[in-house]
Structure formats: structure tokens, C-alpha cells
Amino acid sequence: MSRRLTRRFVERRQQGRAALIFYLAAGDPSIALAADMLHAVVAGGADIIELGYPFCDPILDGPVIRLANRRALDAGGSLDATLAIVRRFRARDADTPIVLMGYANPLLSRDGAVFAYIADAGADALIIPDLPLREAAALLPAIAAAGLALVPLVSPDGMTDANLAASPGVGGFSYCVAQAGPTGGAAPDTGQVRAAVAMCRALSDRPVAVGFGIKTPALAAEIAAVADGVIVGSALVDRIRAMGDEDVDAAALFAAIADFCRTFRTAIDGRS
């Protein structure tokens, strides 16, 4: 439910901390380990999880996340498998919001019950980069009725379809895209990020989380000082890939991932 997501931002704001959001692809490197991988990310300090259901053509993503989508598909990933992972995660964690991230086709090639099915599994919101608000408009009633929220993406040069941003079914937070081009690109300029966050705040009073190109704890800390949330994707995904190349058991993998996430948590909390 989108309320779980809203509540998390409120709690963090009251604590004076920025929310730390990690992206990972559901089923990378394996479906069996996936729910425990999410728990490890939470143990490392994640406030919110952005969980990617895999797609064969992730057009807004750079090479790191494109390959993660490929690995997840090769491991048997799908929308159904992703929602099964969410159910398993929810059995042990009722508090950490899960924002499902993925491309339009796996949703729109299905029937209209898909949003209720997603909510029923325990996901809270949706990020769909190729579903802009002008196309989402017809689906927003079903998204709202399921208790979900579609997170609006705000690009560096402004927001098109701003007139639809207050529609029921749009919410959670504003996803401030720090730079043009695919995910995992060069580090964004913090001055530009500050301006983009200010623009998001002028557009709505939703929390603002910044993503794209945030690969180091130091940069995350700088962004956390001006935004309500920081989204880290490619850096974690690349760490998961690197661990997969080493021959470690599951416990060591989860410990290493939690440690990696904690470096971001510590940096953010030190500054905010």
C-alpha cells in the first residue's frame, strides 16, 4: 500500500534523516536467494527497496542494470517470480516499503487485474519509466483502487504533463532524475541536483528522491543533504555481480551486501 511508503518518508523526515533507497533486479543472481538478499539490503540500512521486475529491453538503463535484467531473466525471473519474492519478503518484513520498478509491457500486456495482483503480493508503489503520466492517465484509477501509487519521474529540464501530477494514483514521492541519459552514468553535478530538487519541490509537496549516477557514499551524502531520499542502483547491482564471480556461500554474500549498503547509510547519516 502506498501509505507504507508515505509513512516511511514521514518517519525519516521527523528523524532528520534522508531515506536510503536501493535498486536491485528481482532474481539477480538467483530466485532462491532473492528474498534473503532483500533482507540483507534492509539489514544494511535500506529504508525503501526499489525492486526491478526484469525486462528484456530496459531502455532507460545503462549496461550494469541491463545485464542485471538479463541475469534475472536467465535465472527464471518474471513479473510473477518478482511478486513471489515480494510475498516471501513480506512474511518477515511488514514495514519496509517496496517500490516495484520495471517497464510497461509486462504490465500492459496483461489484464486489468494486474495492479490488484501487485498490491496483493505486498508491493507499495510503481516506477515505470516508459509510462509517462499522459499514457498512465487511463490506468490511474485502477492503480489508485489497488492502493498503489505511480511514482512520477521528473527529468532534469522540467516536468511534462505536470497537470496530471496531482491525479489520484500518482504519488509516493517525486523521482528526481539527476541527469539525461541512462542509469549508471557519470556522477551528476550537485549544483544541478540542487536546482532539480528545488524544481520538484515547486511542483508538489511530495518527498523528493534523487537517482541516476549516485555510485559512492560520499556523493550520496551530498545529495542527502538537499533531498528527502537518495536512490542507489547501479553501484549495488555491480557489487552483486562482482560477488557472483567470487565463490562465496549465501551467508557471506548477504553479509558482504549488507556491509556495502551500510557504507551508504553511515555516510548519509553522518551528514544529515
Partner: protein
């Protein structure tokens, strides 16, 4: 615990009305399913096109360069069938245009729009190489920088095409090879465009992608159909009884069919059926609705919505989706859809080369094979027009390997 079962019925997606094409009742193909960063670019393009269409100077420049750069009008060739049938088979010879493919009109129109919008660069993807050559040549003529994305396996098997693009001054980017070659090249080009949208226009080779691309390509390519219709009327006194095009993206098909929609002409789009396995590139025959590269249209996809690997023999046909307007015409019953196997297309390509001194592209050969089949049983004198998308020199190694 019993989970709700998913079915794979269609979500009717009645979205905003711009760039929508009506299929079956309640079905609307097209739209703008793109990252928000591209919306201002698409809105600017739509506005620029609306202004350009009303501007007599733009029209005159387009028409002049169709003659002086693209080499239009292209001829209409009558093939004497002899024992092979009583019909008259006319081939619209897009292979004889400047860049040797059917892309000239669409590419010229889009490049002129890029110029009009004050942009200095264009980016495109190419499957068989024909579209990339057309973009590189036109960009050179208009003083635009061109970047062309081609999938690595296609690029390596079509080196002569890559050399031509480079000769025209284009930068050629090879996309690491996987299946569905055109689709990966297109994703590469769109990513390039997303990062450079302020000064660089994406040039579509087919009526696919987000609005307004399907409409732009249809309108600029309509010169093919207008010419073909006038040429046939001049030679036979009437519009053709049948018009045939191959589904290789659909740029020639929308161009030919668009001018014949108000006639009684049977419009037939021929999809490569392959060898019955993964080589089938027939989204109109076997696809179901979904979203790819900005458009809601018919896609070859699995139950989870993942695109099928297309390994069509003809590189230009390796795209898992149909253009949204073609999908709408097919679902609304305005066009017929036929399928031809690889072996029949290759036989047609060899037949035309051996008996008529005419080397057509493998993509075109699927349409010609179907035209031959119809000609064999049609009434005496029935006029059939089939569009030749391009020349076949590039395909000879492929055809040879096929045995």
C-alpha cells in the same frame, strides 16, 4: 495459499487521443510510451511538423529534393509472367532510388524537420543497412552529422553497407550482437537520442516508435503510393486490383497502402514466416498487444511480456513488432495479412534474377513470392503491384549460405 491467476487478455488502453489508430472496437494502437525526458522533444517535433506541413516552402523543398536527391519518381516495371500467370505484375522499383532503398521520402522529410528545428545532428538504427545508408546520404546532403546504430552481426555481414554509410561521413556504432538485431540497434539509437535530445533528432526507418513518428513516416513515405497509383492508372486505366508489400518494419507498406485506402484495391502485407521456428517475424499474424519502443501495438512476446527472439533470415525483418497503424489496419480488417516461408522467398529472388535480370532484396522477395502465387490463379489482366524495398546485392551471401 491460492494466488490470483493471471490471464493474458488485453488491457484496453484508451489513452490520450493524439497519435492513436483504431483497431477493433475499443482498441487504440500507438501513443507515447517513452521516458518523460523525451516528451518535450516529441511535443516539439509534433509542433514543428504541423507548421512544416502548412508551409509551402517546406513542401517545395521536400518535393525538389525528392527529385534531386532521392531520385524520384522511381520506375514501375511490368514483369511478363508468360506461363507463370495471366495477371499483370508491376514492381514499384524503390531499389532504383539514390540510396537504393524505400526509405528516401521518410528520411528526407525527417531530416528536413531536424534542420527546421535548428538541430545539427540525427541518429538512426538500421537492420539491413538500407535505412542507415539513406540517413547517412541525406544527412550529408543537408549538412547534418549522422550517427547510425547497427547490430554487430548485421554490421559484419553487411560490410559494404557500413562502408557506404562511412563514405557519406556518418559515424557507425556497432551494438553488441544478440538476437532481434534491429530491436537492439533501435534501443541503442534511442538511448543516444535520450542523452542528446536538444540537438539531435531520431530518424525512424519504419512507422514505429512513439507519436508522431508513425504519422511522419506514413506521410513522407506516401509518395511511393501516390506515384505507384498514378503510374498504374496511366498504364491500365484504373487503380491496381491488388497491392502487396513485405512487413520489414513497414515503411514501404504504409507508403504504398496509404495512397490506396480509398480505392477498392486489396491491400496485402506479407510477413516472413521463416522456417516455422524462431525465424518467424510475423507480429501481425502471431503477436498480441503490448508496448515496445514507445508504441502500443502488436508484439511477438511470451506470457510474461518478454519479447521473442527474432532470428529472421532477412535482417530488415528482424523486428518483433508491427507499426501501430499497420496493426490497426490489420485488426480493423482494412488490410490482409499473408505469410511466406524463407524457402519460397529465396526461390522468388532467384527467379527474378535468373529470368528478368532483376536482383531484389530478400525482404522484398517475400512480397514478390506472394504476388507470384496470386498471379498464378488471378483472372487475365488483373493488375497486381508489389513494392521492391531495395536491391539484393547485400543478400547474396545470405542466399548462398541458405543452399
Amino acid at each position: 495459499m491460492v494466488h490470483r491467476r493471471m490471464t493474458n487478455q488485453i488491457v484496453t488502453v484508451p489513452c490520450h487521443s493524439r497519435g492513436r489508430f483504431a483497431g477493433r472496437p475499443g482498441e487504440a494502437f500507438g501513443g507515447q510510451f517513452v521516458a518523460p525526458i523525451l516528451l518535450p522533444v516529441l511535443d516539439r517535433l509534433e509542433a514543428a511538423y504541423r507548421e512544416a506541413r502548412a508551409d509551402p516552402v517546406f513542401r517545395a523543398t521536400f518535393d525538389r529534393l525528392l527529385a534531386d536527391h532521392v531520385g524520384r519518381p522511381t520506375p514501375l516495371s511490368l514483369i511478363e509472367l508468360g506461363d507463370a500467370g495471366a495477371a499483370r505484375l508491376f514492381l514499384k522499383r524503390e531499389d532504383l532510388s539514390n540510396s537504393g532503398g524505400s526509405y528516401g521520402g521518410g528520411v528526407l522529410g525527417q531530416c528536413l524537420l531536424a534542420q527546421r528545428m535548428g538541430m545539427g545532428a540525427v541518429v538512426a538504427d538500421t537492420g539491413s543497412g538500407d535505412h542507415g545508408v539513406a540517413v547517412a546520404a541525406t544527412a550529408s546532403r543537408l549538412g547534418l552529422a549522422a550517427t547510425i546504430y547497427i547490430a554487430d552481426p548485421a554490421g559484419r555481414s553487411q560490410l559494404a553497407m557500413v562502408d557506404r554509410m562511412r563514405a557519406f561521413g556518418a559515424t557507425v556504432a556497432m551494438v553488441p550482437g544478440e538476437a532481434s538485431m534491429l530491436h537492439h540497434a533501435m534501443s541503442g539509437a534511442i538511448q543516444h537520442w535520450m542523452a542528446h535530445g536538444a540537438d539531435c533528432l531520431y530518424v525512424a526507418g519504419a512507422p514505429i516508435g512513439p507519436h508522431p513518428y508513425p504519422t511522419l513516416v506514413r506521410d513522407f513515405q506516401a509518395v511511393i503510393g501516390r506515384e505507384a497509383r498514378a503510374q498504374i492508372v496511366e498504364r491500365t486505366g484504373a487503380p491496381p486490383a491488388v497491392a502487396i508489400a513485405t512487413m520489414d518494419g513497414g515503411g514501404a507498406a504504409v507508403g504504398l497502402f496509404g495512397a490506396l485506402l480509398d480505392d477498392a484495391t486489396r491491400l496485402i502485407l506479407v510477413e516472413p514466416e521463416g522456417d516455422g521456428g524462431s525465424r518467424s517475424a510475423a507480429p501481425l499474424s502471431h503477436g498480441r498487444p503490448g508496448v515496445l519502443h514507445g508504441a502500443y501495438t502488436l508484439l511477438l512476446q511470451d506470457a510474461d511480456g518478454q519479447l521473442c527472439d527474432i532470428r529472421a533470415l532477412a535482417p530488415g525483418a528482424s523486428y518483433p513488432a508491427a507499426g501501430p497503424e499497420l496493426a490497426a489496419w490489420a485488426r480493423a480488417g482494412r488490410i490482409e495479412v499473408a505469410r511466406i516461408a524463407d524457402g519460397d522467398a529465396i526461390a522468388s529472388l532467384r527467379w527474378a534474377a535468373r529470368h528478368y535480370g532483376l536482383l531484389m532484396s530478400l525482404e522484398s522477395a517475400y512480397g514478390v513470392a506472394h504476388a507470384q502465387r496470386m498471379a498464378a490463379t488471378a483472372a487475365t489482366g488483373t493488375a497486381i503491384v508489389c513494392v521492391l524495398n531495395g536491391g539484393g546485392t547485400k543478400d547474396l551471401p545470405l542466399v548462398e549460405r541458405h543452399g
